[in-house]
């Protein structure tokens, strides 16, 4: 297993931290906000290396130092991905309102999933004759309710906001990378 000490022993420069990111039941808005750190991504890349992330298109998460989860958990695949992140990331962060609270996708929680599927695929307007609820085993099944990520795995930090600003993500990550306890002051913490 590759660890910090192994790498440090080989090279003179400290090993770059590995960071993985994913959007589960989210809109990628938090990832877009991440890109709002703009040119600061260059100094960030001096410090970290991306593992699984939309930036790298790596499909599975390997052992990482930091995992950023955008979005809540709405289906079986989300559960698998989230568990994979938890198993591989030393520090796991719920990034943004959906990951923290379920957010917009959780609006469906007051409806019965069976009724939703029925209406969307069988009885709704504009459907082809004989339209059926998709049942291909390739497709992940939706959960009865959408859950915030901390209801499925242990989460170390919560970064609220819809989305959290680029500045908030930058401040949070740099503090964490410097080995400090992240603390976002007034102006960086938003709950909307």
């Amino acid at each position: 297993m590759s660890t910090a000490t192994d790498d440090a022993a080989v090279g003179t420069t400290p090993r770059k931290l590995k960071v993985a990111t994913v959007s589960l039941a989210g809109c990628f808005g938090c990832h877009m906000s991440f890109l709002d750190i703009d040119e600061r991504i260059l100094p960030l890349l001096e410090l970290v290396e991306f593992d699984r992330s939309p930036i790298t298109d790596i499909k599975h998460c390997g052992p990482c130092d930091i995992g950023l989860i955008e979005g809540g958990v709405c289906n079986a695949e989300n559960v698998h991905v989230l568990r994979e992140f938890r198993a591989n990331c030393k520090v796991l962060i719920a990034l943004g309102a959906c990951a923290v609270n379920g957010g917009l996708p959780a609006q469906r929680n007051h409806l019965e999933l069976a009724d939703i599927l029925q209406q969307v695929y069988r009885t709704g307007h504009g459907l082809a004759d004989g339209s059926q609820i998709p049942n291909d085993p390739e497709l992940p099944l939706p959960l009865n309710q959408v859950h915030p990520v901390h209801e499925v795995v242990r989460i170390d930090y919560f970064l609220p906001g819809c989305p959290p600003s680029g500045d908030a993500i930058w401040a949070f990550l740099t503090q964490l990378i410097e080995g400090r306890e992240p603390a976002l002051g007034h102006g960086l913490l938003h709950y909307d």
Partner: protein
């Protein structure tokens, strides 16, 4: 003309039934002079007449008092005892304090629901009856208790439940149910200075008038009397600040919203020592320069209302209340307002909001009620017991009072003792008495734990029973609940957590969310999904709510839980399902509806709870 306009707003013109309803509402509105600050009273009386508060009724009331409808609706929706949907001709509310649970209320409630063919919280299909639980009704020494159409019934037994189901099905009015069901005992077990006062009605008031306001305030100061509601604020400071505050009028409020689970001493004072309380209110009015007082009586004590009103009327006749009291030129009158099932209204600024017809949400302080209270006028809010003690001090003097109790907690304290004791009831002890002495008096040989300030205070374990009940050691508002070694302290904590989640007024996020999170975490443990992280989370929630909550409810809601986590840890550890993180729900079951709708049952249509099984197969692919 008024009736006609109301009729329009009821929107079902023509029907005779509707015009009768509109006339009833108009009568009630007129009785309250169409004054919006009396909205809580108006809503209660209209609901008593109509059975529930329909949208049309709320519109009619809004129009009648000239308030926006949204404001009327906001008050109607805030209080547990108001319902904006029909809940049947019979509304049965089981008192659900932990002491009621220990006496078997849950079995009785299940049994009544079965006999009436209904689910708790829902109205029966024929619209006849609904059964639900409510917060502590203050009958812990004679439980299990319930409210039947807001009338108190004590000492429930399976036989009484049988008969009750029968009476409801036969549509016998609650007023015709067996009268002994409604009997409420005082259960006074130990009397001291207050309960043995030996004074005639008005005697204390006459003594106060003799002393004059300055002399009276001097005696109160010498007595070092501190508020009996729990906070222990100096009564002389409160009265003086109120007296000195500028205003058009000054008010005295007697806080009889005795909502703390496990306390019932104010009920006994109102029931059997009411003249001392009224004397105390008049004395407070004399001291601060007020001519009007309110008793804010909790909705659960509705059964006392008529009796108390009658006594006030008698006192007016006898020259002990109203204009020119005792012929001495001092005028002071008292009005009783009934609450509607909201624990938070025991907080003084929430109580004042409620008195003004609004939802009982605590105000931002300062300004404090002594300068900006009822209708923004100087107001002193005192506990029932404090006022009765002030009456005693007016007669016997401050020095005498100071000789009782401890240096920092003078006088006696009424303790409502309930739970696992041989003799539950009211014990009046001088401050400084040890918890062990109280247990000894009440007959509690095998005690595991004692909560000393209801759900909102400390929980003591056996090694602390030598501690003294006093503001400087174990402060209390008077609720002493005793748990013997057979009790599961986890269930006590869970009962308290649900109580606070229900009673949080919802104004501030730390309390609204924090109390709900704690209740959910404890349910998670109860459902066998507990992990050590949940216990850590509760500790975190305690620290967060202590500092960040808007009022005392949020600040005290986790104290007992924190104590129980620290002192009765095995009760919680026993509930932990795994040493690692554990979700609060069954993930595979969470796919049930999708499986059913798609007809799938392949391995991909299931989620195992084995984290490593899946994690093990992926990293190999992921490694570059």
């Amino acid at each position: 003309m008024v009736i006609k306009s109301m009729h329009d707003s009821l929107r079902i013109p023509g029907s005779q039934e509707d015009s009768v309803a509109a006339a009833k509402i108009a009568t009630i509105l007129d009785r309250h002079a169409r004054d919006g600050t009396r909205l809580v009273q108006i809503l209660r009386e209209v609901q008593d007449a109509e059975g529930w508060l329909s949208p049309a009724t709320l519109s009619a009331i809004a129009e009648g008092i000239g308030w926006p409808r949204a404001q009327v609706e906001s008050t109607a929706n805030f209080y547990s005892f108001f319902h904006t949907r029909p809940l049947g001709e019979y509304r049965i509310l089981f008192s659900d304090n932990i002491t009621d649970r220990m006496l078997g209320n849950q079995d009785l409630m299940r049994s009544l629901c079965q006999k009436l063919w209904l689910e708790p919280g829902h109205m029966s299909e024929d619209g006849l009856v609904s059964v639900d639980a409510t917060s502590c009704t203050g009958m812990c020494d004679q439980g299990p208790a319930l409210l039947a159409n807001y009338r108190t019934i004590t000492r429930l037994t399976p036989e009484r439940i049988d008969e009750m189901a029968h009476l409801i099905r036969r549509r016998v009015p609650v007023g015709d149910w067996p009268s002994d069901w409604f009997h409420v005992e005082d259960n006074i077990r130990r009397r001291d200075a207050l309960l043995d006062h030996g004074l005639a009605p008005g005697e204390a008031l006459a003594a106060a008038l003799d002393r004059g306001p300055a002399g009276l305030l001097g005696e109160i100061e010498r007595s070092a009397l501190r508020g009996r509601g729990g906070a222990g604020f100096g009564s002389d400071i409160k009265w003086r600040s109120c007296r000195d505050a500028w205003g058009d009028a000054h008010y005295v409020i007697c806080n009889a919203d005795e909502g703390e689970p496990g306390t019932f001493k104010d009920r006994v004072l109102l029931s059997s020592y009411f003249d001392m309380v009224v004397d105390g209110m008049c004395i407070a009015g004399f001291a601060i320069g007020a001519s009007k007082g309110f008793i804010y009586l909790r909705g659960e004590y509705r059964y006392l209302l008529d009796r108390l009103e009658t006594r006030l009327a008698q006192r007016r006749e006898a020259g002990l209340l109203g204009r020119n009291i005792l012929g001495r030129g001092f005028s002071f009158d008292i009005e009783i307002h009934l609450g509607a099932g909201a624990y938070i209204c025991g907080e003084e600024s929430a109580l004042i909001e409620s008195l003004e017809g609004k939802p009982g949400k605590p105000r931002i302080r300062p300004p404090f009620p002594v300068t900006h209270g009822y209708l923004a006028q100087p107001t002193t809010v005192n506990n029932v017991e404090t006022l009765a003690l002030a009456a005693l001090i007016a007669v016997k003097g401050g020095e005498w009072f100071r000789g009782i109790g401890t240096a920092y907690s003078t006088g006696t304290k009424l303790l409502s003792v309930s739970g696992d004791v041989a003799r539950p009831g009211i014990y009046e002890f001088p401050f400084g008495v040890t918890v062990a002495e109280v247990l000894e008096a009440a007959g509690a040989p095998d005690t595991q734990a004692v909560t000393t300030a209801g759900a909102a205070g400390s929980c003591l374990s056996a090694d602390e029973f030598g501690r003294h009940i006093a503001f400087e050691d174990v402060p209390t508002g008077g609720s002493i609940m005793v748990f013997d070694r057979s009790r599961d302290m986890f269930e006590v904590a869970r009962n308290f957590a649900h109580f606070f989640a229900h009673e949080s007024c919802g104004f501030c996020t730390p309390c609204r969310v924090g109390t709900a999170v704690n209740a959910r975490l404890l349910d998670k443990l109860a459902n066998d999904h507990g992990s050590p992280y949940d216990l850590d989370e509760m500790e975190k929630m305690h620290r967060l709510m202590q500092g960040a909550s808007h009022c005392g409810l949020g600040n005290t809601a986790t104290i007992a839980l924190r104590d129980m986590l620290a002192k009765f840890r095995p009760a919680f550890d026993r509930r932990l399902h795994s040493p690692d993180y554990e979700p609060g729900f069954d993930l595979d079951a969470a796919l049930s509806q999708a499986r059913q709708m798609t007809g799938r049952d392949d391995p991909g249509a299931h989620l195992t709870d084995n984290l490593s099984a899946h994690a093990g197969e992926t990293p190999s692919e992921a490694q570059p």
